[in-house]
Amino acid sequence: MIELVENLELVNKLRNIVKNHKGWLELRYQRRAIKSFLVKKGRIDSSTASFKQGVGVRVLKNGTWGFASTGNLDKSEILKTIKQAVTSAELTGSKKNKRRVTLHKTNLSRGVFTPEVNNYLEFIPVSEKINFLLKSEEYMRKLSKDIISTTCKYTEIIDYKIIISSDGADLIIYDSKPEINFVAVVGKNGTSSVSNKACGLTGGWDDLFSRVNPEEWAEEFVKKESDLNKAKHVDGGTYDVILAPDLVGLLAHEAIGHTVEADFVLAGSVAKHLLNKKVASSLVTLIDTGESLFKPHAGGELLVDDEGVKTKPVYIIKNGILKSYLHNRQSAKVFNVEPTGNARAYNYSNEPIIRMRNTCIAPGKSKLKNMIASIDNGFFLTGGGSGQADSNAEFMFGVDEIYQIKKGKLGKLFKGATISGQAFNVLKSITAVSDDFKWDLGSGYCGKGQMAKVDAGGPYVKCKMTIGGR
């Protein structure tokens, strides 16, 4: 928080430039400090301290955007960069341009915004962070002779932003996002499996350890491999399944969330014709939220977006009906709705675009135990691997852990496989939603030309799912 005073000079410099500019102008200063340590087999494989700062300039001229950025904070350099952005807007806009950009008029945020942080990462010495990794890695490596390879990684991203715009944004944002990523390769007699667990959140050192228990993770890895060794492949087909919160989150983010990003909707995504239509079982309420609903410290927490719009929870699907898309100020104007605070830029050198924050299905009323008991022949799925989804909401996710459910009882582990389907069809097939809730997207990066820290999660749900066989 010392920076707030230290940077008053910079704040005033940016304010003055904006005040003296003719036309609409937005300046975003961002300073990002990253520390990252990676331990493999008892040695530091890599360690990085990174410091990056600069100003992203956005202008709106003749209904067209112009963008430029610079890493140099001199006033003359910022003015030169503004000129480049104006030139780019002038050249991009043409008379044939059918869609002139106008922005939804809204009260933009002013003030200082910080998330809840317990034990600031800046105050934890490097030695403590490195020792934590070395100790965790050693514990994991020595747990079993079947462990072939281990990787333990810690990364922290600490942001400090100033956003000033011609139409009223005047704010300072502090953000702190630590994450931990563990990978183990376990195997014997020529077979092996890769296990990984990750947790990324918004908060401090203590918040991270309220969620991460490295020793538990390591023990799970070893247990899983010994079960997998004996495991068989699933016969491909469509089954009654229980999806764990990690897969529910992945589905909400990848397969539904992207199709309702307003820029994507305008380009013709499958959600284009679905507003106010029934797209899911009435048990389903699907939300994208900047604040951490249901459980604290979601990894994609965002109090104000990069256009200065205060974020609010967006009820994308309410009781099975598609209710809202995700908007920035430009798309909000097109759809004639309030902006939802989904404009995000990863770095100062990226322009703000429509992104998700924390995407989830809201908890329901069922008990997990009863949901499992209701399945005669199906599977319990958890451990989302890589996931991909398409403009038509078709998705494909790798699943690491597949447990059989036979006559209402949880049974043996099967080998990992791929699940796929059309996400809205899966949501329609949901017949129970549990009363649990977990943010569980792992380290939580989403790519869309630029990165964003996001989270996702939910309760356990019961639905129909196609599992690929072999």
């Binding site: 360690s47 990085t48 700062q53 490097v126 078709e394």
Partner: protein, 445 residues
């Protein structure tokens, strides 16, 4: 970073602060780019800057820092942080920086004409791409893509005497989109190209490829059967299912960590005798080329797999030291990270018959143009969805498929490759023919 002298100054700062060995590298860049959104040119932007990476070794302990700020006090503070990290890290006797080696300049990596290009050029080329693809078919919706012109100067110095620099230019252009026919929305498709010189820009090639893929994906039907059979992988799918596991397995870091499938296969047969794979970072005018690698070691032509036999692993200075070998010039990465290991321009030698003839020989199977799924790089097990796939029956293409999953094992597939095609395609830093593999599980959903 106006000259290598600026890097030498940073190096001496780090030495004064106590580092035993220091490497400083920088990349100074400027770029113009355009972005397409919702069928229109959405934004053009300009950026320029520099990035510096400083690798320090103190008492055989490593510290690495990176910044885009050239302010002396920020760099000084980061050097302290890097040494603090080193102090708290375990020592590692294999840590060392490389000695200088003679490098030979690679031709045509930098086109001075690109210096004259500006945002206007990027905008006009992007608008041409949009116009051309819209003309091909109204059902095409372009949701992304654009053109980027990048010019960069890379410099590296180290305390053992390496002192090098090189200029690069690159033009990347792409189209992403999907087909819309009434309520029928096709799967997401993309096409892209990257060249080092303005005269090689060929937007028609990318437009035609994107349009073809987008329209082909539109009429897709589900496949109503599940079976095991042959799959013809076209170049994008060859990269996913054949090349990427091989690249991972020849990485000496993976070999030393015991997670390479090829760890005990050096000098042994890993594929049929008609498989030849070469990595060559010295090819003139290729995106993956440069006269030196991330650590300043010269690139060279490396036969990875010759007549089906695994010939070598790829090393950087660190892993080479551990294995008591020489670096193969395979350090990759830039000033934002420590050196990793990777390939430069990798290519698979084409075979004898073209795609059409190979398809004629398939009784029942699939053509897979893009694979979207999971591949366990260690065991080679893969499973996932076919994107842009076609069902083949009695030697002819029947229809495009949707919702079909395939599963198998890449290493088993590589060992038992049925055939390699004569036609081959260059994609950025790869060049590969089609590859026919067999015994793949094909599941309808």
């Amino acid at each position: 970073m106006k000259s290598n002298n600026d890097l030498l100054k940073i190096m001496s700062l780090a030495q004064k602060a106590g580092a035993d060995e220091v490497e400083v590298l920088s990349s100074t860049f400027k770029s113009f780019d355009t972005k397409i959104e919702n069928n229109e040119l959405h934004l053009s932007s300009f950026s320029s800057g520099a990035q510096v990476g400083i690798r320090m070794i103190k008492d055989k302990r490593l510290g690495f820092v990176t910044t885009n700020s050239l302010e002396k006090n920020i760099i000084g503070k980061l050097i302290q942080e890097g040494l603090e990290i080193a102090k708290n890290s375990p020592s590692d006797k294999f840590l060392r920086l490389p000695e200088p080696k003679k490098t030979k300049p690679v031709k045509n990596l930098y086109d001075p004409e690109t210096e004259k290009l500006n945002i206007k050029y990027a905008i006009s080329k992007t608008q041409q791409m949009l116009k051309k693809i819209k003309k091909i078919d109204k059902r095409i919706s372009v949701d992304g893509g654009g053109l980027e012109i990048g010019i960069s100067r890379d410099r590296i110095v180290n305390s053992r005497g390496i002192n090098l620099s090189e200029d690069d230019s690159i033009l990347i252009y792409s189209i992403m989109g999907f087909g819309i026919d009434g309520e029928n929305v096709g799967s997401f498709q993309f096409a892209y190209d990257a060249v080092t010189s303005k005269k090689d820009v060929n937007i028609e090639k990318v437009v035609d490829e994107a349009a073809k893929k987008i329209l082909n994906a539109l009429g897709a039907k589900p496949l109503n059967k599940t079976f095991k059979g042959p799959v013809l992988l076209t170049p994008e799918a060859v990269i996913s299912l054949i090349l990427s596991p091989i690249i991972s397995s020849v990485n000496s870091d993976n070999v030393q960590r015991g997670i390479s499938y090829f760890k005990r296969k050096l000098g042994k047969r890993v594929a049929p005798d008609f498989l030849n794979i070469i990595d060559d970072g010295t090819k003139p005018g290729k995106i993956g080329s440069s006269s030196f690698d991330r650590e300043g070691m010269p690139h060279k032509k490396i036969h990875l797999i010759k007549d089906g036999i695994l010939k070598t692993f790829l090393y950087n200075t660190y892993t080479a030291g551990k294995a008591k070998k020489q670096s193969t010039g395979s350090a990759t990465g830039g000033p934002t990270s420590i050196p990793r290991i990777g390939t430069t321009n990798i290519y698979i030698k084409p075979g004898k018959r073209d795609r059409k003839q190979i398809i004629k020989g398939i009784d029942e199977g699939l053509i897979v143009t893009r694979f979207s799924g999971n591949l366990d790089i260690i065991t080679g097990d893969f499973s996932g969805v076919v994107k842009g796939g076609f069902y083949v029956k009695n030697g002819s293409i029947e229809f495009p498929v949707t919702g079909v999953m395939i599963a198998g094992n890449s290493y088993a597939a590589i060992k038992n490759i049925t055939e390699i095609s004569k036609n081959s395609k260059e994609i950025i830093t790869t060049s590969t023919p089609d590859i026919l593999i067999d015994n793949i599980s094909i599941t309808a959903s």
